[in-house]
């Protein structure tokens, strides 16, 4: 059962890391769907 719990924790960790990494890599919706000529605020 330890392996199962470790896998579940790993899935959650991968999810958090993926969100962070994609955001840092410029794949946020804000960055992808916008440009310097677009005012978002």
């Amino acid at each position: 059962m330890k392996v199962m719990l470790l896998a579940f924790l790993s899935a959650a960790a991968i999810a958090v890391l993926a969100d962070f990494a994609l955001d840092r890599a410029g794949f946020s919706a804000r960055e992808v769907t916008s440009g310097p000529s677009v005012r978002l605020d």
């Binding site: 199962m4 896998a7 790993s10 999810a15 794949f27 440009g35 000529s37």
Partner: protein, 406 residues
Amino acid sequence: MSVRGIRILSAAILALGLAATAPLAQTVEGGAEDPRAATGGAQTLEDILARQRGEKIDDSFRRGETGDPASAADPSEQLGTLGGVSDPELWRALRYGEASVTVPTSAPAAGVVIQDGGMRWLKFREGPLLIYGGYGLIAMIAVILLFFLLRGRIRIEGGRTGQTVRRFGALERFGHWLMAGSFIVLALTGLMILFGRIALIPLLGKEAYAPLAAAGKWAHNNFSWAFMAGLALVIVVWIGHNLPNRHDLVWLAKGGGLFSKGVHPPARKFNAGQKIVFWAVVVLGLSISLSGLSLLFPFELPMFAKTFEVLNATGLPQLVGLGPLPEVLGPHQEMQLAQAWHGIVAFAFIAIIIAHIYLGSIGMEGAFDAVGSGEVDVQWAKEHHSLWYEEVTGAAPDHPPGAPAE
């Protein structure tokens, strides 16, 4: 004949002539009746209603009508206009992607101002996908319930021995649970997003559903990576054990022993039922991952035009009456097809996994231990995977006549 008689006869001939030529006025070249004669060739109310119903209409009669500035009268002339393109022609050009559009962002597909395939996609998403998908899942649960009522829990017929044998190592179980845990998150959040408008908003209200949907979207997008990692790991560690062999035919012929007590077809590490689940997970998992990636990176990974091109080359779509599939698709059409396919595959995947979860837990005594602790009871191993048990323990062949899958 009197003058009055001649007038009546003339009127009758004229009426007959008009009646005879009226249908001709409503025909086009080739003799077919022109359904748009009443509007002078423009679209009719029926065209508009058909489009709003999400039906595909043949728009070739208006697609090219986007104006012709080159042959327009010069602005200095009496009937000259600026540009030579009317407003309807301009909007039509925008709609069919013929207009030259400049937008202040380089975002993909931002230049598509109007896309008219959205209604068909929305109707499919809110209609057949939800209805058939939802009933499909209910049907699968009903079948399992019926099976449980008729067959009951599949017991270890020889009873537990208390001795165990290692069935799956840590890496195998880790891959299984990485994929399984993320799959459950993805399935629940996917269903929550898909059924939100018709099921959850009426139940919870929009205020309560909104944060739930936002959290569900975050989880669905980001747990997908764990699922893909788990899928890759499972394929690597188990593909070798899931290649078909001659024992599978025997196992299938005996229904895996699922439907009768005392029947235990011999099987190696995985029996035919488990192999079916494995290959279904591989095929559906890869397919749903590809369409998911296409959705995660909008407009960056179009896949359907190329897929349709390959399918058309095989002749299969034509064979089943779908005709040649479109090989040129707009960016939004690609996204709509990716979403629709993602949903279709997801429902099939969830239905199969519901059956797998049942047989791997309450449906069969001792099955959960294989992926829980990794150790299974020796008697369970002998009944369900006799050939594998002999391989790993070196025990003498003692085949019970059949064993069900978990």
